[in-house]
């Protein structure tokens, strides 16, 4: 019969305490088991734990080293990126300066060409104007002289003819 049933029967209630013999045997068994465990199992556990710890610590160290290495690599990359960015900025700046130079040169050349064109056009216009004016002046002169000739021919009466002849004779006499 189990000890708790015997205790329950004896007291009329539930008895939790085992009998003394059971306690002794139990203690002996426990000590034997503990001795065995201490002798054979616990050292193995310790070794396993140490190994495990060492392995974990090694992995942690390795991870730390890799982390450091990664950090260095990251710094290296960042430095490279910074260098590349600086180089890119320098190239962009150079390209911008070159573009500005080319732009200024093209602008200057275009302005010079435009000025030359304007000047040439101005000269052409002035020349053409002068030519037209000369032509016009000539035409006006021709018309004026023709008109003067007609008027003179119409207006020259006998008295004027005589006056012109007398003037001619007078000048000759003054010369002689």
């Amino acid at each position: 019969m189990p000890f708790f049933l015997a205790a329950e029967e004896a007291s009329g209630g539930i008895e939790l305490l085992p009998e003394a013999a059971e306690l002794v045997w139990g203690l002996v068994a426990f000590l034997l088991l503990f001795g065995f465990m201490s002798k054979f199992v616990f050292p193995r556990f310790g070794t396993m734990l140490d190994e495990r710890r060492a392995e974990i610590e090694g992995k942690i160290e390795s991870a730390d080293a890799k982390l450091v290495e990664a950090e260095e690599a990251r710094r290296g990359y960042e430095a490279s990126i910074a260098d590349a960015r600086g180089e890119a900025n320098r190239i962009v700046e150079e390209a911008r300066a070159a573009a500005e130079t080319v732009r200024a040169e093209i602008l200057s050349r275009a302005e010079a060409e435009a000025a030359a064109l304007v000047e040439r056009a101005r000269t052409d216009v002035a020349g053409e104007r002068e030519r037209v004016l000369q032509e016009l002046r000539g035409q006006v002169g021709a018309i004026s002289v023709e008109l003067a000739e007609r008027i003179v021919e119409r207006e020259l009466d006998a008295a004027t003819h005589s006056a012109l002849v007398d003037e001619y004779i007078g000048r000759l006499a003054a010369r002689g």
Binding site: G138, S144, L164, V165, L172
Partner: protein, 177 residues
Amino acid sequence: MSSERNAAFARAIVSLAEAEGALDTIEDELLEVARAVDGSTELRDRLTDLHLPIARRLSFVESEVLAAAHPVTRTALAMVIAGGVAGHLGAIATAVAAAGATSREQEYAEVRVAQPLDDARRAALKAALERSTGRTLDLKVVVDPSVIGGISARIGDTVIDGTVARRLEELRARVGA
């Protein structure tokens, strides 16, 4: 070459005129006809066109306009036309007048006016020209409407131009017309 031919024709005409004793008249008439020919393109073409039959060209000599002319004048004109030098009639007439003047120990002076000169002005002009040039002149007055007004005198190579036409020409040159 043509000037030599002109001179030869002029000498021949002068000889004819002197033989007839009418050099002065011939000079005047030839100058007048030369002036008329110069002023008429149609007449000039008719007299100078060598493709026309000579009889047709010479018909001018027998025309009414020359009916009153001296026979030597008509003969001289016939000679000039038949000789094919009618285009130089002006130069020949001038040479005849110059030869006539020389024979009278004078220098030929051709005066062009727009309207005829009266005797007083003609004498005054002759005197003034003689004083001016220092020569005795044989003055021939040609009425030439192209001078418009005033007088132009040619004595040898000297020209004294006081015409309205010359003034208008100067005006035309000045205005660049």
